[in-house]
């Protein structure tokens, strides 16, 4: 089967500073992958290039065999680091909005998750706490039947109980055809749901490995290894 994501010699700079330097990546289907790196290492840049929100200075990105564009966006579900939703909208408005926009959106699934997290669909986004807003966005993103989920810092602002629920949502949504890429600093929280990790530093991929391989070889958790590799 074809890979869901392929990056070749991907390079992106911002005003003379390299944000991504010659990145090569192959992501198989049916994996849950942690994209881990310190602040400013290039995680969000990589995700935005895959989304077509940025264009590379050199190299190529292929999603499901296609360059980022309308076709690739049909199969990619993206949770940005900052919200783009209008805060005057009610959650129910947003659900209709997503249903109109994405043919793979499952409104019933979204309402089920809202109920589980005690979020009233009639509430407006602007009346919500930071954490609740984040939950709503994640629910919208996870209610699509996409092939590639790109989650940029999905759990940073939510409480530990909701974090567990979100991780369990990711596990239950698991599908052999789809992969999930999660960028985060909160490694110990998500470590046991990940198949693979990608360590990125100063725009370079420094390590790709499975979680169990790291534990087997190093005898330590990914979290511990991260703290050693990126010691300040």
């Amino acid at each position: 089967m074809n890979q869901i994501l392929q990056c070749r010699n991907l390079t992106k700079g911002f005003s003379g500073r390299l944000a991504l330097n010659n990145v090569n990546l192959d992501i198989e289907r049916g994996r849950i992958i942690g994209l881990l790196g310190p602040n400013g290492s290039g995680k969000s840049t990589l995700i935005k290039l895959v989304n077509g929100l940025l264009t590379p200075n050199a190299g190529t990105v292929l999603v499901n065999g296609q360059a980022p564009g309308i076709e690739s966006k049909k199969v990619v579900s993206y949770l940005p680091e900052r919200t783009y939703l209008n805060d005057w909208m009610r959650v129910s408005n947003l659900i209709s909005f997503f249903s109109d926009f994405y043919s793979d959106f499952d409104a019933k699934k979204a309402y089920d998750m809202l109920r589980r997290l005690n979020i009233n669909p009639q509430d407006r986004l602007k009346t919500m706490s930071k954490g609740t807003k984040e939950k709503v966005q994640l629910i919208l993103v996870m209610s699509r039947e996409a092939q590639l989920y790109l989650l940029d810092e999905p759990i940073a602002g939510v409480d530990p109980a909701a974090r567990d629920y979100i991780l369990n949502t990711i596990i239950t949504n698991y599908n052999r055809e789809a992969s999930v890429i999660i960028s985060t600093h909160l490694i110990s929280d998500i470590e046991q749901v990940l198949d693979d990790v990608i360590f990125i530093n100063a725009g370079n991929i420094v390590l790709t490995s499975s979680v169990d391989q790291i534990r087997e070889k190093e005898g330590k958790s990914v979290d511990t290894l991260f703290r050693e590799v990126f010691r300040c």
Binding site: D164, L167, N168, Y174, S188, E191, V193, V211, R215
Partner: protein, 122 residues
Amino acid sequence: MTWELKTDRPIYTQLVDQIKLRIISGIYAPGEKIPSVRDLAFEASVNPNTMQRALSELERDGLVFSQRTSGRFITEDEKMINEIKDSLAKEQILEFFEKMEKLGYNKKDTLTLMENTLKEMA
């Protein structure tokens, strides 16, 4: 019984051990059907691929077998289950002796101490 996972060992080997414990302690009875990979992964909050790997390992050992259409079952071979129980018990004992040695007790001292403790408890 909750799933307890430590951070310094591969997750799948810990899952193998915990499922073994469930079999030995009778939580999963011989011949019983076990939950699906997806349900087990959800229960343990782990990646389904990792749970799959653990179950494949148990299958290779013969503790679990799968029937193509109806799912996975615990072996009916109670002799095998008892053997695994014995070997796990032995592991625990060896580990205990090791710890006692670190405290400065040789095996004979440890045994005496155990006997005395038992008498006190009685």
